[in-house]
Symmetry: C2
Subunit: 258 residues, 2 copies
């Protein structure tokens, strides 16, 4: 049976991949990805056919991966982080769903054996590098309004504020999008103190990694780009300092039992 | 400098661990964990000093790990899944915070070099085994009211419902706790259709793995135990069937662009 792996390769450093992801890549003859991700993999993807499509070509990438697999090539569709979290896996299933509904003309896709291999997502990499901000109930929101109407996003931020969830903002800003993060901050400030700790995690595990802990009141989109992940604490999250080391964590409340 | 690794070992199968987690465990002389987790590691933890404390002894486990590391032993504190997500990492920082505030008498803890190593969390393992239910904005809520008042949990479930988030329920039930999941279902039914797909993922990647997709209206705590993770879709999540294969995914909306 023809095989398509949808593989999350984690935040960047190869040591953060699972053995399962490495095995899956090794078994592939063809890899479909945004170019940067293949660079991150280095030697692991040598000798394989590379199919590089730029950002913005997500549907084309998923189609190509399904087509290659249906043609009998063991194919790996690659995303950084967890491919199931704001990654390409869901695009594959959107296309499969269309075929099942008769909206595509690719019955051969239905014979592809799909396997999703998760990876460490950016919020996990950032959190672990700076403590444990995801230690209690949390949410993720993508601030990209290319596919989701901004009204929906804004409503979700209000819900997060009201529910006092820790929240990670994916796609917080790009060259063309910058006001959304500041708007998100202002909404959260209706519910949380300006002193609430925020983790700004950029290029985690990569050469130019930078982790900063700031206050919600000082969060500004000008300090953020598309390689950055923002996690905002809840009302109980704590920024603590031990000598040179800064940490941010969200308590589960164990210390109340002491 | 004395070293404490807080390590997430993923859902169970060793191939789902990161290389980083394996390296960290290999470097340790002492491992602190709930016994089952050491069983899952198998050979990887042979020849090391094991310190096994039962469930419910989370504070004692974190204290012991800090004490061992402070005494110069390279120590690994182990959780399944991601140790930063409802895992032991946050307990370590709660204790460190207490010491920094003068509420503990362990200044030697301040010299411990703490490193958190994330892992694949149960929601990721479940989602990937059955498609991509975490494909769009999502939340996690622990249904355990041992440390968090039920009123807070219930308020959060309402917020999730209002915000139309995908939601994963950790600790959905145990021998002593069973009504919470049914109450959570009833709250979500105020916001979502009974046909909303729900993933019931039990013992993912382990020998007795079981993945079931049901409707929200049919979700019942009697089918759930402490080895189960529940993920409830949002209003757009889809349960699709291709031959014998069932999938559940949450679209990001790419197919609307076609």
């Amino acid at each position: 049976m023809s095989k398509l792996y949808a593989i999350g390769i984690g935040p960047g450093d190869r040591r953060w991949m699972t053995a399962k992801a490495i095995e899956a890549i090794e078994s592939c003859s063809d890899l479909v990805a945004y170019g940067l991700y293949l660079d991150l993999l280095g030697k692991l993807c040598h000798g394989k056919q590379h199919h590089v499509l730029p950002l913005g070509e997500e549907i084309a990438r998923a189609r190509l991966a399904l087509d290659l697999a249906a043609a009998g090539k063991t194919t790996g569709l690659i995303s950084s982080g967890d491919i199931g979290i704001y990654g390409m896996a869901t695009v594959v299933f959107e296309l499969l769903d269309r075929q099942l509904q008769g909206e595509e003309a690719h019955p051969e896709w239905l014979d592809v054996d799909i396997e999703v291999v998760p990876g460490i997502s950016a919020m996990q990499a950032g959190a672990s590098g700076a403590g444990a901000i995801l230690g209690h109930d949390f949410c993720t929101i993508s601030l990209s309004d290319l596919l989701t109407p901004w009204d929906t996003i804004e409503k979700r931020i209000h819900c997060i504020g009201a529910g006092d969830f820790v929240v990670s903002f994916y796609n917080p800003a790009s060259k063309k999008r910058h006001w959304q993060l500041n708007r998100a901050r202002d909404i959260l400030l209706e519910y949380r103190a300006p002193s609430t700790p925020v983790l700004i995690a950029r290029q985690v595990t990569r050469e130019d990694e930078k982790l900063n802990i700031v206050c919600l009141g000082d969060l500004d989109a000008k300090d953020v780009d598309m390689f950055t992940l923002i996690s905002v604490g809840n009302s109980e999250s704590r920024h603590i300092v031990n000598g040179q080391q800064h940490w941010v964590y969200s308590p589960r409340g164990y210390s109340k039992q002491i």
